[in-house]
């Protein structure tokens, strides 16, 4: 099939359509809305079988999604940012039901202050829940990611819900050429959902998601979820291999770009990683041995694969488009934990916080991050974490502050009219 221009949102909707989902509980939120509008239009026109229902909140949406999956149908849903947080109780809850379905998250920074553009704090808030996570760098990966996610979620050795993450604006509203897989091929790749023993039917009564009392049974059930998630590393590897053979695209747990002989490697995820790819090319042209390592699979964390790809690398510039307040970048923390004590691990991990709330990362910033990391390797001194923020930006915010924080009587059209009545004479 010839490529078509699709936004990331429409690519996500195509993923659901190709996966032949039965049920779409929905709730709108910028920048995800186009996904559910697209699906809604297809359902209404009859282009897509299945049922869609708009709930009154994301919390309810996730509850309905989990409940429908627990009943035995294939479920798709999508949200973003505040919506994901509103649903967070159910994100944890339904993962423990072992009810597999796919949730697309369109990343957007979290309040406060409330904003619209992308960063990864929303999806990372769900990282400990039991949902697996696939992160996309372009619109093609979005449609592919949804299909891979269903295979992974429904695999009997896994049976966990999977989140597919795409960045708001940079992917959600950005059109790129996308190869839509042939539906017949997809049907081969993704068989109908077999709910197995976890479902509802009058002839097979079942009490699902019941309470436990005490730490011992709780430990068992919670850790089993973890073991299933760990299973998902190798299951994902197999599925990605099959996907490559069938569709010709490499979708491994990590993307390793020019890492073979690299001295310095950028480590980041999401759509900004394609900017890093571009920077790698320019740096290579400038004679520097730089590469990019990007986890597609963040949960389960493919620690061995990542460590293997970084063997022989001297320094890693970890670029976190997120911020664990009071700690720093989440990817940096997790990579440090994964590499600690491993033989042949990179000597230096520098930490950069960039792209918060969709802030741009410029080519020069990538070049400089590589330079700082190389210097740290040479001197053996790792600099403290750095926020990517320029003098110009600081000047701009100072200007905004001067507007926002100006004394009330200076802006009020009637001078002192802003004061409470009777106060005029006192000053």
């Amino acid at each position: 099939m010839a490529p078509t221009l699709l936004t990331g949102n429409v690519a996500a909707a195509w993923g659901a359509r190709l996966a032949r989902v039965d049920y779409v509980p929905a709730f709108p939120i910028t920048p995800q809305t186009e996904i559910i509008e697209t699906l809604g239009a297809w359902v209404d026109s009859g282009d897509m079988p299945g049922r869609m229902v708009t709930l009154e909140s994301e919390h309810s949406m996730l509850t309905a999604a989990g409940a429908a999956a627990a009943t035995g149908v294939r479920v798709f849903s999508a949200t973003s940012s505040q919506g994901l947080l509103h649903a967070m109780e159910m994100i944890y809850t339904v993962a423990g039901w072992r009810a597999p379905f796919v949730l697309v998250n369109v990343s957007r920074g979290l309040a406060s202050p409330i904003t619209l553009e992308a960063d990864h704090n929303d999806v990372l808030a769900a990282r400990d829940s039991g949902f697996l996570q696939i992160h996309c760098a372009d619109c093609q990966e979005v449609v592919d990611g949804v299909l891979l996610a269903y295979r992974l979620a429904e695999d009997p050795a896994v049976r966990l819900p999977v989140m597919v993450n795409l960045d708001g604006f940079y992917l959600s509203f950005t059109r790129e050429p996308v190869n839509l897989p042939d539906p017949a091929e997809v049907a081969q790749f993704l068989q109908p959902f077999d709910p197995g023993a976890i479902r509802f039917a009058a002839s097979a009564p079942e009490s699902q998601a019941v309470a436990v009392l005490g730490g011992s049974p709780y430990s068992y059930f919670r850790y089993e979820t973890h073991l299933a998630a760990q299973n998902a590393v190798s299951v994902y590897g197999d599925i990605a291999g099959e996907f490559r053979e069938r569709f010709g695209r490499e979708r491994g747990a990590v993307e390793a770009y020019q890492t073979e002989d690299a001295e310095v490697v950028f480590f980041m995820m999401g759509s900004f990683a394609t900017k890093a790819r571009e920077a790698v090319d320019r740096l290579r042209e400038a004679g520097q041995r730089v590469g990019l390592l990007r986890p597609r699979l963040l949960r389960p964390y493919p620690a061995d694969i990542i460590a293997g790809a970084l063997e022989g690398v001297s320094g890693v510039a970890v670029i976190d488009q997120n911020l664990s307040v009071g700690q720093g970048g989440v990817l940096h923390t997790e990579l440090s934990a994964a590499l600690y004590g491993r033989e042949g691990a990179p000597a230096v991990l520098t930490s950069f916080i960039g792209g918060l709330g969709g802030r741009e990362i410029s080519p020069e910033e990538f070049y400089q991050m590589a330079a700082v990391t190389r210097q740290a390797v040479e001197t053996g001194v790792t600099p403290p974490p750095r926020l990517l923020y320029t003098e110009t930006e600081l000047r701009e915010i100072r200007k905004l502050q001067s507007v926002a924080l100006v004394e009330r009587d200076e802006t009020s059209p009637r001078g002192g009219a802003g004061k409470p009545p009777g106060e005029e004479d006192k000053q």
């Binding site: 423990g96 976890i198 009564p205 079942e206 998601a209 019941v210 059930f221 299933a228």
Partner: protein, 312 residues
């Protein structure tokens, strides 16, 4: 409540104390557990580092002897020959020692007089605390009454006075055994038994999800042990009505078999709703311990004359 009184009494006696109930909000009628730890040297800043359940108790106080019969209650978990067990019971110490096959000290706190109405039941907590205070040997009676004043003050002067009296009586009743409880040693870090940790198997989701496929298997839970009063149907009076008792019983513990209602004593919690609503007043109420004593007698008589009690 007993644990708070005992805890405060120890605290007022110069001990560092830690007391806790095992769960927060509990079901009315369901068994409750609590623990008290104490260490000397409060003034020197001694702290208690252990938390949660006591793995090796020096003293176990059982306020309701029916709990001893439930292994799941774990009443005697972790006891060793040095542990003193105090049981509130109408039975003798020998009977219990024999039944439980205990080597250590077992003492009986005589159960109170017979009561027909739950509202008249004495506050067993203060009684247990009073007896325990005496057995520990480190609490003076004054500290005990101070603790009752502090802990039960909000219940009003009448309740405080009554509980003080019960606690003091229990203290006196145990005076011959004062100080019998010895301080146990901490778990040694040398020559200890290592935990038998296992690698958790990766189980299939069909069993590794918290799902139940059995139907109505809650019947395996013997809530009949909650009962302090037992409803008994006098079939001579039973009007064989439209089974009022069966409909109103909150626990579905009265079924109609043939043409008569039968109370399922394995599960009846003893709420006594049926006693109040039976139209011809055919359901009476007797204290559970009396009913059990009678049953025990019947069994023993059966053993004596060689007949199987099931045959009668």
């Amino acid at each position: 409540m007993a644990s708070r009184v005992l805890g405060t009494a120890l605290f007022r006696s110069g001990f560092t104390v830690q007391d806790a109930p095992k769960y927060g909000a509990e079901r009315r009628g369901a068994p409750i557990f609590s623990t008290v730890r104490a260490a000397r040297g409060a003034s020197e800043g001694e702290t208690i580092n252990e938390r949660g359940i006591i793995h090796r108790p020096d003293l176990v106080v059982v306020a309701d002897d029916t709990l001893l019969a439930i292994p799941a209650a774990g009443t005697l978990q972790g006891i060793d020959p040095d542990t003193v067990v105090l049981v509130n019971s109408r039975e003798s110490a020998d009977t219990w020692r024999h039944r439980l096959n205990l080597q250590g000290e077992l003492l009986i706190l005589p159960a109170g007089s017979e009561v027909e109405d739950r509202a008249d039941l004495p506050h067993i907590g203060a009684t247990c605390a009073g007896a325990a205070a005496c057995l520990l040997g480190v609490i003076e009676p004054e500290a005990l009454t101070t603790a009752i004043d502090e802990e039960l003050g909000p219940l009003g002067e009448e309740a405080v006075a009554e509980n003080r009296e019960n606690a003091s009586a229990a203290f006196e009743a145990m005076i011959a055994h004062r100080g019998i409880v010895t301080e146990g040693a901490a778990v040694p870090a040398k020559d200890y038994e290592p935990p038998a940790w296992v690698e958790l198997p990766v189980d299939d989701a069909s069993i590794a999800a918290p799902d139940i496929r059995a139907a109505a298997n809650s019947v395996q839970v013997r809530t009949g042990l909650w009962r302090t009063l037992r409803p008994v149907i006098d079939y001579d009076l039973c009007g064989k009505c439209w089974w009022v008792c069966s409909t109103f019983c909150p626990d579905s513990a009265i079924a109609v078999e043939g043409d008569k209602p039968v109370i399922d004593y394995d599960h009846c919690k003893g709420c006594m709703v049926c006693v109040g609503i039976c139209p011809p007043h055919a359901i009476g109420s007797i204290p559970e311990y009396l009913a059990q004593q009678r049953e025990q007698q019947t069994i023993e008589e059966g053993e004596a004359d060689g007949t199987d009690p099931a045959d009668r």
